[in-house]
Symmetry: C2
Subunit: 329 residues, 2 copies
């Protein structure tokens, strides 16, 4: 694999991205943004049935469902490929961005996303039902007792998805945390103020290009059995793509999941006014990442969380300094 | 600090960089390229005198002269900033590239580099003597008995640098390894076929923009006391810059040093026909790097070399596959 960096800008004093972040993070009203818990579910075929299976979660560090699917890994530092971060950046440039969507239930939110994609000419209208069907398959979490309930079962079936009033009517049901969620002991590790970011990554046979959406809800809302813990969802990232690229899709999912638990990026995600703010957040993250040479490291190794990490305040101060490419032409 | 990634290409099937590498690495005549040993020296002021002081070295992993300067660190994985890799890329785009230079001695090589920079309008002619003076200051290596010999002392002084025949005449002297070099026990850790890459990084008060050169010699040549071990030099990377950016310069130095010991990039460095081949090598490296999130890692932590790393053959196979940005517009 190889990307091309040919068109990288040679020189600039302060990038437009830095200006953007300064402006949105500078509007700080003093109230800290909530801590984010991210859950990543991937689309799996279980016999005849499609389902969303939890594959990883992030409080600050990554925990992965081990091969075989019966237990969680220890928390570890997320090692990402640079390629996946650039792919994510492109996905955010071209996908659907919905900020402060009034969201009542997953079926209603999903329908609004698909309608927006259709309105923007990103997917043909005849795929609407298929996409909604896939996005409402049941979620199986990595808890002792798997949740087998389908979101469509408790709300509406996919073929009635065209009626928004019906979606809204199931709000009361889906807003109540399930017994499984309340019993999950992992909850103790999640800060009390936490809100969830749900990442859904899947491969389907009816798309010929990726379907991408980044959604921030106006209010954090519990969306049925979407999340393994009773933490209300604030953010949704959806990537459905054509077959044959599962590994790339998963890496993009891990990239956005890692960004969502990053102190600086999550602030940007809460305060973004438009698409370009999110892209500026990715750029700032990229500018700060630490890089390991491919020949000196095996990406399969899991790195234990360090005892101390740089504080968000220090990083915030850092990006307010000037940037200059030394060797500009 | 923040770079801007705005102009990243959205989509391509195979990048021009991949094509380039395929073409130069495909011309393989079967003979393996030598192993590279890299030494990085930084310009220091010792009382009234300027000198080059060894600050780090790479066989495959990085070893650093510890604060205080009396001992070597253990070998560790080089953690780089992505920013430094992009700065390096820009430096290679704008600096002087000399491939297969006939090099006899450091004074002659240095003079040829400076003359080329002047011919290309990169530095004004009146800085020639100053740059040569700095580049020929003595090298102090991190061995038990420091080498205090100035290269200018054993060859010519900087104010006679304008006479190339004089440079060449000291070839016999500088070509002989010194006693210090031969006694260095570190030599045992360097493969027998090794050639050296010397990285010189310094800050000076008379430049207003960086002076950068990447040189490959036609033959590997022992250049006086330039290197701590009697390993002939094949590559030279020089970065002299205006004051106030020492940390950035050092990070760029660590970046090129790390690239030079990378299996794939060193192959590219040996086989490059022109500047763009080197840039393609950087691009391929960038595409393969592993990234640690800034909020999950403290860059000061040294990572022990892993037991196993991906083989160069595997990586070579990898970049021959197609590249595709999924979310292209």
């Amino acid at each position: 694999m190889m990307a091309s960096w040919q068109t990288l800008p040679g020189s600039q004093i302060v990038s437009p991205a830095a200006e953007r972040l300064r402006s949105i993070l500078g509007e700080d009203d003093g109230a800290p943004t909530p801590t984010i818990f991210t859950e990543m579910d991937t689309l799996q075929r279980d016999g005849d049935e499609l389902e969303w299976k939890e594959s990883a979660r992030w409080v600050k560090f990554e925990e992965k469902v081990e091969e075989g699917g019966e237990r969680w890994s220890k928390p570890h530092v997320s090692t990402l490929t640079l390629h996946s971060l650039f792919e994510l950046r492109t996905c955010l440039q071209t996908g659907t961005i919905m900020l402060d969507l009034e969201g009542y239930s997953l079926p209603q939110i999903v329908e609004e996303i698909v309608d927006r994609q259709i309105a923007d000419g990103l997917v043909p209208p005849d795929l609407k039902e298929k996409i909604i069907f896939v996005l409402l398959r049941k979620h199986r979490h990595q808890t002792k007792k798997p949740i087998h309930r389908s979101l469509a079962d408790i709300g509406k079936s996919s073929n009635t998805a065209a009626n928004p009033s019906q979606s809204r009517s199931m709000n009361d049901i889906s807003d109540t945390p399930s017994t499984d969620q309340l019993k999950n002991k992992f909850m103790k590790k999640i800060p009390r103020d936490a809100e969830a970011s749900n990442v859904l990554i899947g491969e389907v046979d009816f798309l010929d290009k990726p379907f991408v959406a980044f959604v921030r809800l106006a209010q954090a809302t519990t969306l049925g059995g979407l999340t393994e813990v009773p933490v209300p969802t604030r953010f949704l990232f959806v990537l459905l793509g054509p077959q044959g690229k599962t590994k790339s899709y998963n890496e993009i999912g891990r990239a956005i999941a890692t960004l969502m638990v990053d102190d600086l990026f999550s602030d940007v995600a809460y305060k973004a006014r438009e698409r370009e703010d999110l892209i500026a957040g990715v750029d700032e993250f990229l500018d700060e990442v630490i890089v390991l040479p491919p020949g000196e490291w095996d990406p399969k190794i899991r790195i234990e969380p360090p005892k101390k990490v740089p504080s968000a305040e220090m990083r915030r101060g850092d990006f307010l300094t000037l940037d200059l490419f030394l060797c500009s032409p």
